[in-house]
C-alpha cells in the first residue's frame, strides 16, 4: 500500500531545512510559497528518507481568488506519496517555477497547464500551447472562461 505521508510532519522537516517556505500544512497536503517551490521540490527529491523520484501528476485548479498548482509526488523506492501545492494570487499573470529540471515528467503537463489554465512556468525550455493551437485566445479551464 502506498503510504500517504502526513503533510504536517513533512512541513516540519522542510522548516528545519530552510526557513519560511511553508504557508500551510495539514494531513493531506503541504502548501508552500510560490518563490520557494523549486527549492522545496529539490529538497523533497534529493533528501534521503523522502526520495520523491516520481512526479505522478501535475495540475492546477482555479479557485477564482487564486490558482493552486498541485503536484502529486511518489517515491518508488519507499512507496510513499505526498501532495505538494503552491498558490498564485496574481490573476493577470500567474507565474510558478518550472520543475522540468527535476522531473522530466513535468514537460508536457506544465505545457498543458499553461495552455488551459494560463499559468506561466518560469524556466520551462519549450513553454507553448500543448492541446490548443498557436494563436488561440484565452485559457478554457479557467472558471471564468465561460
Amino acid at each position: 500500500m502506498t503510504i500517504a505521508l502526513n503533510g504536517e510532519e513533512v512541513a516540519e522537516k522542510i522548516r528545519g531545512a530552510f526557513p519560511g517556505p511553508v504557508v500551510a500544512a495539514d494531513k493531506a497536503a503541504v502548501i508552500v510559497t510560490n518563490q520557494s517551490l523549486y527549492q522545496v521540490a529539490e529538497f523533497l527529491k534529493n533528501t534521503a528518507g523522502f526520495d520523491f523520484d516520481y512526479l505522478t501528476d501535475l495540475t492546477a485548479v482555479d479557485y477564482l481568488d487564486y490558482f493552486e498548482v498541485v503536484y502529486h509526488l511518489t517515491s518508488l523506492k519507499h512507496n510513499h506519496s505526498l501532495v505538494l501545492k503552491t498558490r498564485c494570487y496574481e490573476r493577470g499573470k500567474p507565474v510558478v517555477s518550472s520543475v522540468v529540471n527535476l522531473w522530466r515528467a513535468a514537460d508536457f503537463q506544465e505545457r498543458e497547464v499553461y495552455d488551459l489554465m494560463g499559468i506561466t512556468f518560469e524556466g520551462h525550455p519549450n513553454l507553448k500551447r500543448l492541446l490548443l493551437w498557436e494563436g488561440f485566445v484565452g485559457h478554457p479551464l479557467r472558471r471564468d472562461y465561460l
Partner: protein, 367 residues
C-alpha cells in the same frame, strides 16, 4: 567538390496509419537518421475536463469511455473508484468481483491490440493483427452480452456496476479462459523467435531505467525498463490484494521488452480471471447511491493500473452535484515525454516502431 547537406523536417501524420490516430510527429531528419522529434497533439481535443465540470458525477461516466476507447472499462473503473473514495461509498462484494473480471478482460483486449499493431508497424502487415482480433472478438462478444456495447461500455456505476451478468456469460468466459493460454503459446511460437522481430526490436528505442522513472513512464513501458512497479501491487485498489499474480519485468527497456511484457501480462490476467471466476459471490451488483450525488467538500486522487499505464483522476468537490475540477492523468501522454530520447540517432523506420511500442491511444492523449 564538397557536398553540402542540411537537416530537413518531415511531418508524420496527423493522417497516417502508423500514428494510431490523429497524431503528428514533427521529425527533423539528417538523411534517414532522426535528429529531433516533437509530438504535436490536440487534433482530438474535446475538452472533456471542462465539459465534466458542468455535469453530474454519474453523467461523467460515459465521458471516461471516450478517453482510451480501447480500454473503456478500466477508464470507468478509475473514475468511479475516485468518486467512491471521495464520497465514501461501499461497493457490494459481487460488484467488486465483476469489476475485476471485466478489468482483466479489458487488459487482455487492449494488449492484444497493442501487440498486433506493434507487429503491424514492424511490417508484418495485418496477419498478426488478424489473429489478435480473432481473440479480441470473443472478448467483445462477452462484453456485448453483459452491457450491449462493443466499444464504449459505460459499465461501471458509482457504487457498483450497471448490469448483472446473464446466465450464458460465465460458461463462455470459462471457455475463453481455458483456451487463451493455448493461443498465447501459439502466437509466441509464431512470433517470439522470429528473426525479423528480434532484429528490428531488440536494442531499439531503449528507455533507461532512470529516465523512465524521471519522466514518470508507467505501465508496460516502465516495467520493460526494469522497474517492478504495478499499482495493483504497489497500491492495491478494489480487491486486487486477494489474487495471486506475477509482475513481468523487462531488463533492457527496448521495444522487444515492451512487447514481451505485454504478452506476459496477458498470461497473468488469465491467471487472475481463473482465480476470480470460482470466487464470484451471489448478491447485489450496485449499492444504493443517491442519483444526485453530493460528495463532501474535498479532493481526491484515485489511480489504477490501466492497460497502458497509471490512469488517475484528480477530483475536487465543492459539495455540489458536479465536480469543481475534473483532472485526468493520461498515462500515454506522459509515456510520450521520453520519446525524443528513445529515438534520436535511429532511423525513421525505428521511430515508427518505438512509437508503436509505447502503445498510445489518441482519445486519451488529447482528451
Amino acid at each position: 567538390m564538397v557536398i553540402k547537406t542540411e537537416p530537413f523536417i518531415l511531418n508524420i501524420g496527423p493522417q497516417h496509419p502508423s500514428t494510431h490516430g490523429v497524431f503528428r510527429l514533427r521529425a527533423t531528419l539528417d538523411g534517414e537518421v532522426v535528429v529531433d522529434v516533437e509530438p504535436v497533439i490536440g487534433y482530438l481535443h474535446r475538452g472533456i475536463e471542462k465539459l465534466a465540470e458542468g455535469r453530474t458525477y454519474t453523467q461523467n461516466i460515459p465521458f471516461t469511455d471516450r478517453l482510451d476507447y480501447l480500454a473503456s472499462i478500466t477508464n470507468n473503473l478509475a473514475y468511479v473508484l475516485a468518486v467512491e473514495k471521495l464520497a465514501e461509498v461501499k461497493v457490494p462484494e459481487r460488484a467488486e468481483y465483476l469489476r475485476i473480471i471485466m478489468a482483466e478482460m479489458m487488459r487482455i483486449a487492449s494488449h492484444l491490440m497493442a501487440v498486433g499493431f506493434f507487429l503491424n508497424d514492424l511490417g508484418a502487415m495485418m496477419t498478426p493483427v488478424l489473429y489478435m482480433w480473432r481473440e479480441r472478438e470473443k472478448l467483445l462478444d462477452l462484453f456485448e452480452m453483459v452491457c450491449g456495447q462493443r466499444l464504449t461500455y459505460n459499465y461501471m456505476r458509482i457504487g457498483g456496476v450497471s448490469h448483472d451478468i446473464p446466465e450464458e456469460f460465465l460458461p463462455a468466459l470459462k471457455r475463453f479462459v481455458a483456451e487463451m493460454p493455448g493461443f498465447i503459446d501459439e502466437y509466441d511460437q509464431l512470433l517470439a523467435g522470429n528473426e525479423i522481430l528480434l532484429v528490428r526490436s531488440k536494442g531499439v528505442g531503449v528507455l533507461p531505467e532512470e529516465l523512465a522513472i524521471n519522466s514518470a513512464a508507467s505501465g508496460p513501458v516502465l516495467r520493460a525498463s526494469g522497474v517492478k512497479w504495478d499499482i495493483r501491487r504497489a497500491d492495491p485498489y478494489s480487491i486486487y490484494d486477494r489474487f495471486d499474480f506475477d509482475i513481468p519485468v523487462g531488463s533492457a527497456g527496448d521495444c522487444y521488452d515492451r512487447y514481451w511484457v505485454r504478452v506476459q501480462e496477458m498470461r497473468q490476467s488469465v491467471r487472475i480471471l481463473e482465480q476470480a471466476i470460482p470466487q464470484l459471490p451471489e448478491g447485489e451488483v450496485c449499492a444504493e447511491v443517491p442519483r444526485l450525488l453530493r460528495p463532501p467538500v474535498g479532493e481526491v486522487y484515485g489511480h489504477i493500473e490501466a492497460p497502458k499505464g497509471e490512469l488517475g483522476f484528480y477530483l475536487v468537490s465543492d459539495n455540489s452535484i458536479a465536480p469543481y475540477r475534473f483532472r485526468i492523468r493520461p498515462p500515454t501522454l506522459i509515456n510520450l515525454t521520453a520519446l525524443k530520447d528513445m529515438v534520436i540517432g535511429w532511423k525513421v523506420a525505428d521511430l515508427i516502431i518505438t512509437f508503436g511500442s509505447i502503445d498510445v491511444c489518441l482519445g486519451e492523449i488529447d482528451r
